[in-house]
Chain length 406, copies 2
C-alpha cells in the first residue's frame, strides 16, 4: 500500500466538482459538491445513531438500501435537519437535480447536508447552481469538492492510497471528509466520502466500512455532541478490473487494511481540526480487560473538558485523566494505573500504581506544548488495548460556537 494524491478522484472512473451556489452568504466559500462515478457502484454507508436524523440521512439511507449508488451531492451551510416533510422533499429534489443532468438514477444519488440545524434549505438556490456544478466535474475535482463540504474546518481532509491485489491488479482508494464541530460519532461519523475502483461486492464493502468506522471514526470526539447528519459513504465502481472481492481472503484483508489506513488518517485529521483546536490528543489505553472497555476509557479521557483545557494550557494535570478514567463505566483499579505523556518533544511518566511520580514541570510543559500529544494509560488489568483521538478545548471553540448561527 502506498499513499498517493488525488482524494476521491484518485480512483479510476470518478470525477468531482465543487462550487459556490449561494447557500452560504460568503461568496468566497464553496458550498456545493458533487462526486460521480462513470459506472454504478457497490455502495456502503454508516449513518448517525442520533434519533433526530437529518432529512438527507433519511433519504440517503433509503437510496442506499439496495447497495447501489453512483453519485453523491452535498451542500454545506444548512444541514436540512429538523425541517419536517418539506425537508425530505428538498433532499429528494437534490437527488433529482443530479439525475436530470447526468446518466444517473435519482435513487442512486446519495444526498448529504451540513451546517445549521432547523432552517429549511431553499432548494432553488441549489438548482441555480446545478449547471455550473455538473460542468465543473473533473478527474482532479477532489480539491473543489473537499473545499465545498467544509464548514468550520481549517485543514484539508483528503487521503488516497493504492494497493496491489493477489492477481496483480493495482486498485486505488480515495476519500474526503469534513469534521470540526458536533463531533462525537457513534456507529457512524461526520461526513466522509470514500471512492475506490476496486471491484468488491456491496456486502463485503459494508462489512469493511463498518469495521473501519468502529475502529476509527467512532473513537474520536471534539465536543461530545453526536451530530444528526453523520454519514460515511463508500462507493466502489470496479474499474480497476480485479477479480471481484466476494469473500474473505488475502484481497479482502488487503482492502480492509487500506480502508483502515484511509479512515484512521481522516479520523486523526478531524480530531486535529476540531473547532478551535490547537492540538491533537491521542489516548492509548492498554492493560484493559477487553477492547470495548479500553475504548470506553480512552473516549472518557479525550472527551473530558478538564483534560482538554489542561492540554490547551500545556498543563500536565494528570489527576484529571485519572478522574475521567474513574467515572467511565469501565473497570479500573485506581491503585494499578500507570500514566505517561508523550509527544515529539519527549516522554514523561507522571503516575505509577495510582500514585504520583515526581517530574520536572519544565519538561512537562515542553512535552505537552507539542501539536500532537499522546496520553499513555496502562490499567495493569489485562491485555486489551484501544486508541481514541480528540483535541484540546480553547477560547476559539467558544468563539466559533457562541455565534455560529447569527
Amino acid at each position: 500500500m502506498k499513499h498517493i494524491r488525488g482524494g476521491v478522484t484518485a480512483p479510476s472512473g470518478f470525477t468531482a466538482s465543487g462550487i459556490h451556489c449561494g447557500v452560504r452568504r460568503n461568496k468566497e466559500k464553496k458550498d456545493l459538491a458533487l462526486i460521480v462515478s462513470e459506472l454504478p457502484c457497490a455502495a456502503a454507508a454508516c449513518f448517525t445513531t442520533n434519533k433526530v436524523k437529518g432529512q438527507p440521512v433519511v433519504v440517503s439511507a433509503a437510496h442506499l438500501a439496495n447497495g447501489v449508488a453512483q453519485a453523491i451531492i452535498c451542500n454545506s451551510g444548512n444541514a436540512n435537519t429538523c425541517t419536517g416533510e418539506a425537508g425530505i422533499a428538498v433532499a429528494q429534489r437534490m437527488a433529482e437535480l443530479v439525475a436530470e443532468r447526468l446518466p444517473v438514477k435519482a435513487e442512486d444519488v446519495v444526498v448529504a447536508s451540513t451546517g445549521v440545524i432547523g432552517q429549511l434549505l431553499d432548494v432553488t438556490i441549489i438548482e441555480r447552481g446545478m449547471d455550473a456544478l455538473v460542468e465543473g466535474l473533473s478527474p482532479t475535482g477532489s480539491i473543489a469538492a473537499r473545499e465545498a463540504i467544509m464548514t468550520t474546518d481549517t485543514i484539508k481532509k483528503e487521503v488516497a492510497v493504492s494497493l496491489e491485489l493477489a492477481d496483480g491488479t493495482v486498485v486505488t482508494m480515495g476519500a474526503i471528509a469534513k469534521g470540526s464541530g458536533m463531533i462525537h460519532p457513534n456507529m457512524a461519523t461526520m461526513l466522509a466520502f470514500i471512492t475506490t475502483d476496486c471491484a468488491i461486492a456491496a456486502p463485503m464493502l459494508q462489512a469493511a466500512l463498518s469495521e473501519s468506522t468502529r475502529r476509527t471514526f467512532n473513537r474520536i470526539s471534539v465536543d461530545g455532541d453526536t451530530s444528526t447528519n453523520d454519514m460515511v459513504v463508500a462507493l466502489a465502481n470496479g474499474k480497476a478490473g480485479n477479480a471481484p472481492i466476494v469473500a474473505e481472503g488475502p484481497d479482502s484483508r488487503a482492502f480492509q487494511e487500506a480502508l483502515d489506513e484511509i479512515c484512521v488518517e481522516l479520523a486523526r485529521l478531524i480530531a486535529r481540526d476540531g473547532e478551535g483546536a490547537t492540538k491533537l490528543m491521542e489516548c492509548i489505553v492498554s492493560g484493559a480487560v477487553s477492547e470495548d472497555e479500553a475504548v470506553l476509557l480512552a473516549k472518557a479521557v479525550i472527551s473530558s473538558s478538564l483534560v482538554k483545557t489542561a492540554l490547551f494550557g500545556s498543563d500536565a494535570n494528570w489527576g484529571r485523566v485519572l478522574c475521567a478514567l474513574g467515572y467511565s463505566p469501565a473497570t479500573v483499579d485506581p491503585g494499578k494505573i500507570a500514566l505517561a505523556f508523550e509527544s515529539g518533544r519527549g516522554y514523561l511518566e507522571v503516575c505509577k500504581d495510582g500514585a504520583p511520580i515526581a517530574f520536572s514541570e519544565e519538561k512537562a510543559k515542553r512535552v505537552l506544548s507539542d501539536t500532537e500529544v499522546t496520553i499513555l494509560v496502562d490499567l495493569g488489568l489485562g491485555k486489551a488495548q484501544a486508541t481514541a483521538w480528540g483535541c484540546d478545548l480553547s477560547y476559539e471553540y467558544v468563539r466559533i460556537n457562541g455565534d455560529y448561527r447569527t
Copy 2:
C-alpha cells in the same frame, strides 16, 4: 417554611470557623474550615460514584458507617486524591487533629478536601493552623467556613430555612456548598454540608438526603466531569427538642420539603456559578414517558457543549437542543417535540412537531441574553417531567482550566 440567615450555624448547637492555614499560597484566600456540633449527630452522606475516589472520601465513608458524626473538617487547595496510602494517613490525621482539640471522637469527624488531584497534602500545614481554626469557632462562623471551602467559586453558596413541625417545634436547617468545576454529580455531588437541629433518626436522614440529592445535585452539570471528591453530608443534632422523626409522616414530609428547598437552591447556585459561567441554564423536559427518561434528556441538553456555547452567545440555536435530545439514550419522537426559550425578558416558541416556527431574531437575542434562561421541551409522549440545571460555556472556563494547576 421560611428562609433565614446563618447557613450551617443557623441551627442551634452548631459553630463553624474558617482560616487561611497555608495549603494555598494566596494568603487572602481561606483554605481550612471546621463545622462542629455540641452534641453527636445523626449523620447521612452521599459520596461520588467515581471509581477513583479521593482519600478523604474513603476515610469519611468509614467514619460515617455508623450513622453518627459530630464535626466536619475541610480544606481547599489540594484534593488529597490519587495519593495512595500516604493520602489515607493524611485524611485520618486531619480527623485526629480535631479530636485532639475538641470533645469529639476522631471517628466522628468527616474529612473533605477539594483542589488539585495527584499531589500529597502536607498535613503539617493543616496542623499549624489547627489552634487558630478551633479558636475561631463561632455561632456566626458559617461565613468564614463557606469562604474556606471555595475554590474557583465566585458567589456564596449558603442557605438556611426554618420550619414548624406537627408538635409546634420550630426546627432549623442550614447549608453551605462549593461547586464551580468538575461538576457532573452522579449519586452524590460536590461538597455540600447541611446542618439541622431537628431530631431525626439517621436512617430517615439518609433516606431524605438521598432523595433530595437524586432530585437536585444529581441533575446539575458544569462540565460533564464527575469529581473524585463529591460529598454531601447532613448532620442533625436534635437540639430543637422535637419528637424525633423516626418514621414516615407529616414531619418527615415537612423535613423532606425543607431539605429539597435547601438542596435545590444550592444546586442552582452551583450551576449558576459554574467555572466561567455567565448564565444559569435550566432545562425542563415534560411529556416524557418516565421521570428517569426526562432526567436523561434534560441532562443531555444542559451538558451539550454546543448548547452551552450558543447560550453564551445568546443565540437561539434550537437545532442543537434537538440534536442533544436525539443522542440521549431516552425515547424521543422528533416529529412530536415542541421547544421554547423563557427568561425574565420574555417567552419564545421556536419549534413545534419537530419543525421550525418563525421567530424574531431580535426578540430571541433579548430572551437569551438574561442571566437565567429556561429551555422548555415538551416531548408529547407521556406525563413525566424533570428539570436539570447547567450553565453556559465561556472563554473564562477555558482560561480557568488551561492553567489551573501551574
